[in-house]
């Protein structure tokens, strides 16, 4: 017995509202983030992640309000990502009640930002988010490249190298999303997850592609992830967190019930 594997529902936030499944279904059925977060908490979510997809930075204040409201009522760890570019952005989110921030594009633009942030606020609250896409096979090995700006820009950086570098720079955790799998409902990119998990000593959260509960099991057992993140399977009410934990437990994975 020991540390439980974590299930993390992710809420995409646009202008302070939850938007469901924007990546693959054109449904923009908004919900109240506080109510949804409370529901996941009651079901036994181990953490909750918020990803701000608000296009205009002017509207980012709404996310701060969301975090403040959720943090006053939900007493589990909250991770906030999207548009975190400066130390002052991190401070603002932590002050609002976030426990961790995830940094993606800003880390690629300036890797030292991760070093500075973990030094100032502690590694425990710095998550580096990596969007990875299969590119080519070099020396008989699959390669994944790091993408930024929501998957639009290819940085040509090798994902494994990048993950190791970010761990050395003080990241406390890696949130790893497969661009190939995201939205497919085919399951995680297991090879990617396993390769990154084995390359770094910090926890890896698998993300992108979950369509059924067995995928969560695969991410943990085959992908060796410490935590699994999913959005749509929980949002649309197909499955609850309780269902997910039940399946994990049946497969002898340690979970918090």
């Amino acid at each position: 017995m020991g540390l439980a594997k974590r299930i993390i529902p992710c809420l995409d936030i646009d202008n302070g509202r939850v938007v469901k499944g924007v990546k693959f279904l054109n449904i923009r059925d908004a919900g109240d983030p506080v109510e949804i977060a409370k529901r996941y908490d009651a079901q036994g979510a181990d953490e909750i992640a918020f990803l701000d997809i608000t296009a205009s930075s002017d509207n980012r204040d709404t996310l701060v309000e969301v975090v403040e409201k959720v943090a006053s009522q939900v007493f589990i760890p909250l991770t906030v990502g999207g548009g975190i570019r400066k130390l002052s952005d991190i401070k603002r989110m932590l002050k609002a009640g976030a426990d961790k921030v995830s940094i993606n594009t800003a880390a690629v633009n300036n890797p030292n930002f991760v070093r500075e942030a973990s030094k100032k606020f502690g590694s425990q609250c710095i998550v580096v988010a990596i969007d990875a896409k299969r590119s080519s096979i070099k020396n008989n090995k699959i390669c994944w490249e790091v993408f930024t700006h929501g998957g639009r820009n290819n940085t040509n950086i090798d994902t494994i190298t990048w993950a190791k570098r970010m761990a050395n720079f003080g990241a406390g955790e890696i949130l790893l999303t497969s661009m190939d799998k995201d939205g497919t409902k085919d399951g995680f990119d297991i090879e990617l997850t396993k390769n990154v998990s084995e390359a770094v000593n910090i926890p890896v959260i698998a993300s992108g592609g979950v369509g059924k509960l067995d995928h969560l099991v695969d991410g943990i057992i085959l992908g060796k992830a410490s935590a699994v993140l999913a959005a749509s399977i929980f949002h649309f009410g197909e499955y609850t967190i309780v269902d997910a934990k039940k399946i994990l437990r049946e497969r002898n994975i340690e979970v918090r019930i």
Binding site: M1, R6, A71, G122, S226
Partner: protein, 215 residues
């Protein structure tokens, strides 16, 4: 109204613990975040939450003279340390090249051993991040209503090695068996974050609010 002061030593993230305390205090206790010695000395209870690196934490405490204030009020007020708030009570920490602690509970702070594998042959990750079981090694008013082995939220790379068994209130298994809750007289301190540990954590905070410091 009784006053609970959350020590503000310069960390940004005090909202979680303040909100959790306010929730269990139900307006019967006032929760104040402060670094003002007068307010701290006038408090009925003290909460010392800590996050990040211990070197910076101890430096901030000393710069604000909060180390002396803690020593002064720790003798007569119920005191709850969280995470670094536990580690900084020790004599010494290996983190940041070696840091002297407050020396209020005999013990030291050491890093989890690297490259240790679990029974599935996977390396244990550091930090230990997530929900782990806390075994109550001692009866204590702060455990009231909490099942033995309940899970709490942890995030840490260092842990405390306590010298006297009498100061161990709870233990947890990760890489090794270590102390996840320590106690001494009116002091209780946890490696885990009760403010992030849902019902079990809120119960512990409520127990603290109702605690008079006796064992």
């Amino acid at each position: 109204m009784p006053k609970i002061v959350v020590l503000d030593y310069g960390s940004s993230n005090l909202r979680s613990v303040t909100k959790a305390l306010e929730t269990v205090a139900e307006s019967k206790h006032e929760v104040i975040v402060s670094d003002d010695p007068k307010i701290i000395l006038g408090a009925d209870k003290i909460v010392f939450p800590g996050q990040g690196a211990i070197g910076q934490c101890m430096k901030n405490l000393r710069e604000k003279n909060l180390d002396d204030i803690i020593r002064e009020c720790i003798n007569n007020k119920p005191f709850l340390g969280i995470c670094l708030g536990l580690q900084s009570l020790m004599d010494y920490s290996d983190e940041d090249g070696g840091v002297k602690g407050l020396g209020l509970i005999p013990g030291s702070v050491i890093r989890f051993e690297e490259n240790i594998k679990d029974h599935d042959n996977n390396k244990f990750k550091i930090p230990s991040m997530g929900w782990n079981e806390v075994f109550q090694t001692k009866k204590h008013p702060l455990w009231r209503g909490i099942d033995d082995g309940s899970r709490f939220y942890f995030v840490h790379s260092y842990y405390v090695k306590i010298e006297n068994n009498a100061n161990i209130a709870g233990s947890t298994d990760y890489i090794c068996r270590y102390t996840s809750a320590a106690c001494r007289d009116n002091i209780f301190a946890t490696q885990f974050h009760p403010e992030k540990s849902q019902q079990a954590g809120l119960t512990l905070l409520k127990n603290f609010i109702e605690w008079n410091g006796d064992n």
